[in-house]
Symmetry: D2
Subunit: 338 residues, 4 copies
C-alpha cells in the first residue's frame, strides 16, 4: 500500500499518517518526491485496508500494490490446476465441452438432449434442477426430481453432470447427485455458500458475477480454496453493460488475465452472455480462440417449447456444427506448427 499525501499536506499530517500506520503494526517509509510525499507501508502480510488512512487529513489517495488474493494466484502456485471429473481433465490441454438444457424438464427431454450432445462431442452434461429465476412466478426447476434425472443421464450416457446449487439447505442433496457443483452468477458473492463450497468434496464451477471485477471473482474463488477445496473451475459468462444487443457483454479478455494471474482453469458460457441463439456459435468460437479451457452451452431439441431460456438454446444440429468448429480452432493453436 502506498499513501499519497496532497501537495499541501503539512509535516504534522504526514507524521500522523506514519503513526497510524505503525499503530497497526506495519512499517511506514515516507518517500519525499518533487511535489509531494508518498508513504510506503511495508512488512504487511497480505493486503492492507486503505480505509483508515483514506480519510485522514492531508491524504490524497491510497494505492494498493499487492493483489489481495493468495491461494488462487499463480504467484502462490505456478503450475496449472487440473480438475479431474471421472475421465475428464479440465485445464489439461484439452477442450472440455459441457452442454445440455437450461432446465431439466423431464427424463425424456434430458435423455434426448444428452444423447444428442454426447454424439456431437460434449463431455459433460449440464442441466438445472434448482433454477434461480428473476420472477417468483417463473418455473423454478424440478428440484430433487431433476437431480434424479441427472443421475439417470449419467448412468445411461456415461457423461458426468454439472448442476447449480442455490443455497446451503440443498447443498448436501445437490452434492450427493452431481459431479460438478455450479455456483451461479447471482451467488458469486454469497459468502456463506462459498464457505460451504469450500468444504465440498466435489469440484465447483464458479460463474463470474454480473458486475464482478476479476479481482472480486478470484477473491470469491479464494473463499473456496481457503475452505479446503482446491478444485475450482472459473466460468466467464458476460458482464452487465449499457449494450442492449446481447443479454450481457462477454468479456473475453478475462481469459488471458485469469490465465496469467491464476492457476485455475477457466471456461466460457456463451449462451447466457448472448441470450440469443444467433450469437452463441460466433462467441463459442471466439472463446476457444481466446484460449478458454472449455465451454458450457445450452442445447435444446425443442427450444420453442423450453421452460426457460429457450431463445438462447441451440438446436442439436447447430451444436454439432459448433463442436466441429471449436475443436478445429482449438487444434490450430495447440498444434506444434504455430
Amino acid at each position: 500500500m502506498l499513501i499519497v499525501m496532497s501537495r499541501q499536506a503539512t509535516p504534522e499530517q504526514t507524521e500522523a499518517v506514519v503513526t497510524a500506520i505503525e499503530n497497526r503494526g506495519y512499517v511506514a517509509r515516507p518517500i519525499p518526491g518533487g511535489e509531494r510525499v508518498t508513504i510506503g507501508i511495508l512488512h504487511n502480510k497480505g493486503p492492507v485496508d486503505a480505509s483508515p488512512f483514506l480519510g485522514m487529513p492531508g491524504v490524497s489517495d491510497a494505492i494498493p500494490v499487492t493483489k489481495p488474493y493468495k491461494l488462487v494466484s499463480r504467484e502462490c502456485k505456478p503450475e496449472d490446476t487440473i480438475v479431474q471429473v471421472g475421465d475428464i481433465a479440465i485445464g489439461n490441454g484439452n477442450l472440455v465441452i459441457m452442454a445440455g438444457p437450461c432446465a431439466i424438464e423431464s427424463e425424456l427431454q434430458a435423455l434426448t438432449i444428452a444423447r444428442h450432445v454426447k454424439a456431437s462431442g460434449a463431455h459433460i452434461f449440464r442441466g438445472g434442477a434448482f433454477k434461480p429465476r428473476t420472477s417468483p412466478y417463473s418455473f423454478q426447476g424440478l428440484g430433487k426430481e431433476g437431480l434424479e434425472i441427472l443421475a439417470k443421464v449419467r448412468e445411461t450416457t456415461g457423461m458426468p453432470v454439472v448442476t447449480e446449487v442455490m443455497d446451503e439447505d440443498t447443498f448436501d442433496l445437490v452434492e450427493s447427485y452431481t459431479d460438478i457443483i455450479q455456483i451461479g452468477t447471482r451467488n458469486m458473492q454469497n459468502f456463506s455458500l462459498l464457505k460451504r463450497a469450500g468444504r465440498a468434496s466435489k469440484p465447483v464451477l464458479l460463474k463470474r458475477g454480473m458486475a464482478a471485477t476479476i479481482e472480486e471473482w478470484l477473491m470469491a474463488a479464494e473463499y473456496i480454496l481457503e475452505g479446503g477445496n482446491s478444485q475450482v473451475i472459473l466460468c466467464e459468462r458476460g458482464v452487465r453493460t449499457f449494450a442492449d444487443h446481447s443479454r450481457n457483454t462477454l468479456d473475453l479478455s478475462s481469459i488471458p488475465v485469469v490465465r496469467k494471474q491464476s492457476h485455475l482453469p477457466i471456461i466460457v458460457d456463451p449462451s447466457h452472455a448472448a441470450g440469443r441463439r444467433d450469437q452463441v456459435i460466433p462467441l463459442s468460437r471466439a472463446a476457444v480462440a481466446a484460449e478458454a479451457h472449455g465451454l458450457m452451452v445450452e442445447v435444446h431439441h425443442e427450444p420453442e417449447k423450453a421452460m426457460s431460456d429457450g431463445a438462447q438454446s441451440l438446436y442439436p444440429d447447430q451444436f454439432t456444427l459448433l463442436c466441429k468448429q471449436v475443436n478445429a480452432i482449438f487444434d490450430i493453436f495447440h498444434s506444434k506448427s504455430l
Copy 2:
C-alpha cells in the same frame, strides 16, 4: 407481449408464430403494418416469456408490454405502504434516519456511537454482526455476540436496530434479535434468502444489487411479498459503472421511478455509494432532495480505527451537521408553501 416480424417474414412464418402463441394458451392478434407484421399476445395473465418466440424464423423482436411485477406495483396497490418499526413509521411523510457503524466491534464502540447518533437525530441504529466481505481474510463480524450488543443498544437507547442477514442458517437468529432484517446488495438475487424473508415476521430492508435494474430489484421484492411479508423497505446504494471517483454511482433517479411504480418506501445509503467520507454529506442532502423516505448512514467515532469501511464513516460532528441539513431540506418540499 408484442412479437415483431422482420420485413421479409413470410406468411407461413407469421402463421407459425401465431400457432406457437396459441399452443401456449394465449390469443394471438396479428397487426399488419406498412412494412411488417406485428403480433400482439392477448389474454395473458401476467407477463409472457419472450424466449420461445425470439428464436423462431422470421421473428425480429419481442417487446414486453406489461411489467412482470405485480404485488409490489402501484397498479396493484395504489396507496403507499408504511412500514412500522416500534414508534417509527417509514414511508409516512417523515424522514427516517438510520445510522451507526459498518460493523459492531464492541459494546463500548456500539454504545458510544449509538448515543452520538441518537443525540443528533437518528431514529434507528445500524450495525453489522455478520459481514459480507470480499476477502476471506477480512474481519467477518462478531456474529451472535454482535447481535447481543445490538440488543443492548436497543435496550439502552430505545432505538430500534437494523442488521444484515447473510444466509438461511442464521436467519432465525438474526430475526430474533433485530427489528429490521437487512438483505445486502450481493444477496439481492439470492432467491432462497428472499423466500425465507417472505416468511419473516420482521420488516425487510432490501438493498439494490450492484448491477440490478429497477425491474429486477422490484422482482426481488416481489419474492418477499409473494411469500407473505409485505413489510419491505427498498434501499438504493449505488450501482457499478465505469466511474472511478466513487465506489459506486448513486442512482437517484431510482427514487422517482420506484415511487411511481411501487407503493414500497425507498431509502438511500450514501455511505456505500460514495465509499469516501467527503461525498457522504452532499449525497445525503441530494437523496433527501430527491424525496427518499430515509437515509442509512455510517458513523464512527474513531473511523481511522474502524475494522471495516472506516474511510466512508462520518465523524459524529459531521453526522450532526448532516441531520440538520437533511431535515431542513425535507421540511422545504413538505411544507405547504411550495
Copy 3:
C-alpha cells in the same frame, strides 16, 4: 509514477526498467519491499506515460501518483473561478439557472418560453440553433436563423444566452451571437474544437462526455485553459450505464469531487440525464442539494409539439415550482445557521 515489479522479477529486469526510466530523463528510485521491488519515478514535470514501462519483462503494474491535469486543478489555483456573464456571476455563491427549449423552433416559441422562464427566476436562456442528432433524418436546428432568434431573446428579455457549437466552421458565427458557448457531450473529446474554444473570447460550458471519467473531463477543460481561455463552466449531465429507467445515470458525486479537485464552477443538466419529465424536478433539487453552482433545464410551453426532446421538457408551471424549490434548498446550506 510507481512501477511495480512482479515477485519473480530478476535483478536484471529491475535494472532494465531503471535504465529505461533514466533514458527518458527521469530519476528512478528502487524501493525494495518484503515481497517485491517497486520503482519510483522522480523529477518528472507533469505526469509520466506508463506505456513504455508497462510492457517490459518483469513489470507487473504502473501506478500514476500525480494527476495529469494542471491548470484546472485547485492545487494550481486554490481560489474558485468565477465566470462573469453580464450581470450574472457563476461560481460565486449564487445559484444560476439556465432554462429554455432544447431547440429554437421559431421566434414566437423562443420568446414565449423565455418570458416564462425569466418570470420564474431563470438567469440565462438556453436554446439550440445547431443540434447534434443521432439520426441524419431528425431536425438539425435552424442554424443561423436560430442564432438571430437568440439575439432577439437577449435584446427583448435582457437575459444572456447559451447555445451549442458543433464544429470549427461555425464557431466564429456562434461565438459572435452567444454569451456562453456550449460544447456538447458528444464533442467533449473533439480536441480540435476544444483548441478552438481555448482561443474564444466567450465563456465555455463544457458538458461531461457520456462515458468520461472526471479525469478525462478535467483534461478536456485543460485543453481550453491551456489555449488561453480560463472561463470554463463544467456541466454534469449523466453518464451511460446499464440502467434503463432514465436516459443516463446522473452522477452527483462528481460535484464534490470536481469542487475539491478543481476551481472551475460546475452546474447540472437534469433534463438530458433523465430523458423523462417526471424525473427532472427531483434531480434538480438533488443537484442543488449536492452543491451544484447552477442548473440547465429544458422548458417548453407545448412539449408535445416540440421538435426535439419534448418528453424531457418541463411545462412552464413545473419550472416555476422547480425554481422555488431549488432556491429554498440552496438557501438552507448557504445560510449561516447550518
Copy 4:
C-alpha cells in the same frame, strides 16, 4: 411505434393521444388488451419520435418497433458491401489485416515497421499523423509531415494506408494523402465530421464510440451513407465498462449483430480494446473466430520507445505469430468441410 397506456388511463386520455398522433400525420390504431390499451402508430415513413407522446397523461411507455437506420440496413440492401482499396477487398470473404504503429514518429520508424508487418502478412498500413490525445501535453502527432511519411510508405511497400482525420479543417489534406480515412472513437458522433465524410471520395473506417450502442453506431454510418459515400468499414474497438483489467471491454457479439443488421463490413481493433500487449493476440484470434472481416493491430519495433500507446503495441515477432494464427482460424470456418 407503439404507445402503451397505463392501466388507469381514461378514455379521454387515450383519445388525446390518438389526436396527437393524427396531428402529426400518422394513423393511430388503438388495440384494447385485457388490462390496458396500446396504440399502434401506422403509415410512418421511418421511425417516429417518442418524445411528444411519452409525457402525455395516461401514457405509460412508448416502444419503437422499427429501427431508425435505413441505408446501412440489410433490409435496405441485402447483399454485402465490399470496400475496395487498391487490390484489397474488404468484406469479400478475405481476412484483411491492417497494422502499424499508433503514431508515425519518423520515416525510419514507419518504414521499418511497415516492412515488418508486410512481410508477416499485413495488407494495409496504419499510422496516426493527427493524434487525439486525452492530454494537451501529450505528443499530438507529426501532422502533415506524418502524412508525407505515410505516402512514402505506400510508395515504398505498395501497401495502402489508413490514418485518422480529426476535424474538417484538415479533412482535405488527410483525404488527399490516405487510402482509408479513419474516424476515431471520440468523434463517432461528431456529426459535422460525419457529414464531411459523406462527401469524401475515399472509404471511411468508422470506429465505435466508447459508449455507443450498435444502433447509434449504425446511425453514425447512416450519416456518411446519406451524404453519398457508401464505402464505410465499421470497427469494433471495445466499450467502456466497470472492468479494469483491460482498457476497454471488447464486445465481440457486435460482429454477428452488425453482420445481421447491416451490409457493411466490420473489423476489430484489439489493441485499443486491450490496452495491454498480452491480451492482443488472444483477442485477435477471438475476433477472427467471431467472423470479423479484418483486424487493425498496433505494432512497433521498439514499443518501449514509442511516443504513444507503446504498452499495447506488439513486437514484430508477436505480430508474425498473430498473422499465422488468425489466418489458420479464418481458413477453418471458411473451408467447405465445416
